[in-house]
């Protein structure tokens, strides 16, 4: 079984093919040369191994590329997520931010300005979720620093009509009927930059993740605060109190170990790692306690990890991968006890994901 690490960067996509031990890596690419590649994902199972990439080209707009041969070759998809023509809000897709499969093979896309689309035929056609995309509060939605982006899509693996999305800076929205009706799910998530600290919406949620074998438990990295929900987003409790900083972007739930979660703390004002030391922090008890994971990581460093740039490969000894804004990718195959650099000199990294072949 080979692990492929898919890396989206500011100037194209790259694929790293791991040796069986995951100690040596072979680079493939660049693909989509020169273009912002915000997300690359692979679909395992379903007999249709396919890779997809959200590529924001400056020549022909934001488009989907797909590969049927594990990334050796790529073609532009037949269709791309787009708002209805002449829509009353005058919205047009500026960037594709996030791609996600559900277990039925549906491909979801989160875009900027915040909206959600789904394709049931491998990006040959797309449909928008109008009740979300033209929500009655939409005129009040404000962007985060990176743009008004729908960056997280979670589909309950056992109840596929239950969807949760994260938007900066609007917060968490959820649907329990396959996207027909949406409601805000920001209970107890704070917005330190607003007059009201716990508004119904307006939070700058950075990323949400879950362990698919325990999907009711969600972990959320906010613009200030790390949170846990035990009921698929109905309510949240803050769990990041003992972290050196509760600000950060990615958050990753271990795919096998309940309650195990990884974050990359940075100082909110500067985005520097605490004390200039690049570090991850791990909790093994759903945030009751945390410990640092940094052996093998650079100790004099001022770079960051963006929200989509942490992934796990799901192997029995699960590999964890982080891609950094300085173009380096680090991997741990011992649950974060130690790290090795598997790539460097890449452009600024936007996304990291894994697929097993």
């Amino acid at each position: 079984m080979t692990v492929l690490v898919l890396v989206g960067t500011a100037k194209g996509g790259f694929i790293f093919e791991g040796s069986p031990s995951r100690r040596t890596w072979k680079m493939h690419g660049p693909f989509f040369e020169g273009f912002d590649t915000y997300d690359m994902i692979g679909e395992e199972g379903n007999g249709r191994p396919s890779l997809y990439a959200g590529v924001n080209t400056w020549t022909w707009g934001p488009v989907i590329y797909k590969s049927k041969d594990f990334g050796r070759t790529w073609t532009k998809a037949k269709s791309h997520p787009r708002f209805p023509k002449k829509n009353p809000n005058q919205l047009s897709v500026k960037r594709i931010w996030n791609l996600q499969f559900d277990l039925d093979g549906r491909l979801y896309a989160g875009v900027e300005p915040a909206a959600l689309f789904v394709s049931e035929d491998g990006s040959n056609s797309w449909e928008g979720f109008d009740s979300l995309n033209f929500h009655q509060t939409r005129k009040e939605w404000q962007p985060g620093n990176g743009g008004l982006c729908l960056h997280t899509i979670l589909v309950h693996p056992n109840q596929r009509k239950k969807l949760r999305v994260g938007i900066s800076a609007v917060g968490v929205l959820g649907s329990d009927d396959g996207g027909k009706k949406w409601r805000f799910m920001n209970k107890n998530i704070r917005a330190d930059f607003l007059p009201e600290k716990y508004p119904a919406y307006g939070q700058c949620v950075h990323k949400i993740d879950f362990n698919p074998s325990r999907p009711e438990t969600l972990f959320l990295q906010n613009h200030g605060g790390v949170y846990l929900s035990r009921d698929f987003g109905e309510g949240w409790q803050e769990i990041g109190g003992s972290l050196p900083s509760d600000f950060g972007f990615p958050i990753g739930a271990h795919p096998h170990e309940q309650g195990k979660v990884y974050v990359v703390p940075v100082k909110g004002e500067t985005r520097y790692p605490p004390n200039g030391e690049f570090q991850l922090w791990v909790s093994e008890d759903s945030g009751k306690s945390w410990h640092k994971s940094s052996k093998g990581l650079p100790q004099r460093s001022y770079f960051n990890v963006l929200r989509e740039a942490m992934a796990m490969d799901g192997k029995e000894r699960c590999g964890i991968y982080v891609g950094c804004t300085n173009g380096q990718v680090f991997c741990s195959v011992d649950d974060g006890k130690s790290w090795q650099k598997i790539a460097e000199n890449l452009p600024r990294i936007f996304s990291v994901s894994c697929i097993k072949t």
Binding site: T59, H80, K86, Q90, S92, V93
Partner: protein, 92 residues
């Protein structure tokens, strides 16, 4: 005689178009629809869902860049007009 169209090489290559076309069309929108019939997806690369020309596309009619006009797609064309379609010089 028709409208002469010059398509920048990056678009011509991507969409397998001849870089020089002559089309019998009355508006810029017609022109792009015609090219769309030859090259599926071309129109989407030039303008977005609202009808605005994409930020990194320059579209010249007889030497005038119409990109920022609200009604750019409704620009009238006549025989002998020259239309150039270029990507902007951009990046970083």
């Amino acid at each position: 005689m028709g409208v002469k169209v010059f398509v920048a090489s990056v678009f011509a290559r991507e969409f397998k178009l001849s870089p020089r076309l002559t089309l019998e069309v009355k508006t810029v929108k017609d022109l792009l629809s015609n090219i769309e019939k030859m090259a599926s997806g071309f129109r989407d690369s030039i303008y977005d869902e609202t009808g605005r020309i994409r930020p990194y596309v320059n579209l010249f009619v007889n030497g005038t860049n119409i990109r920022s006009r609200e009604d750019a797609l409704d620009t009238l064309l006549k025989d002998g007009d020259l239309v150039h379609i270029f990507p902007s010089v951009a990046g970083g």
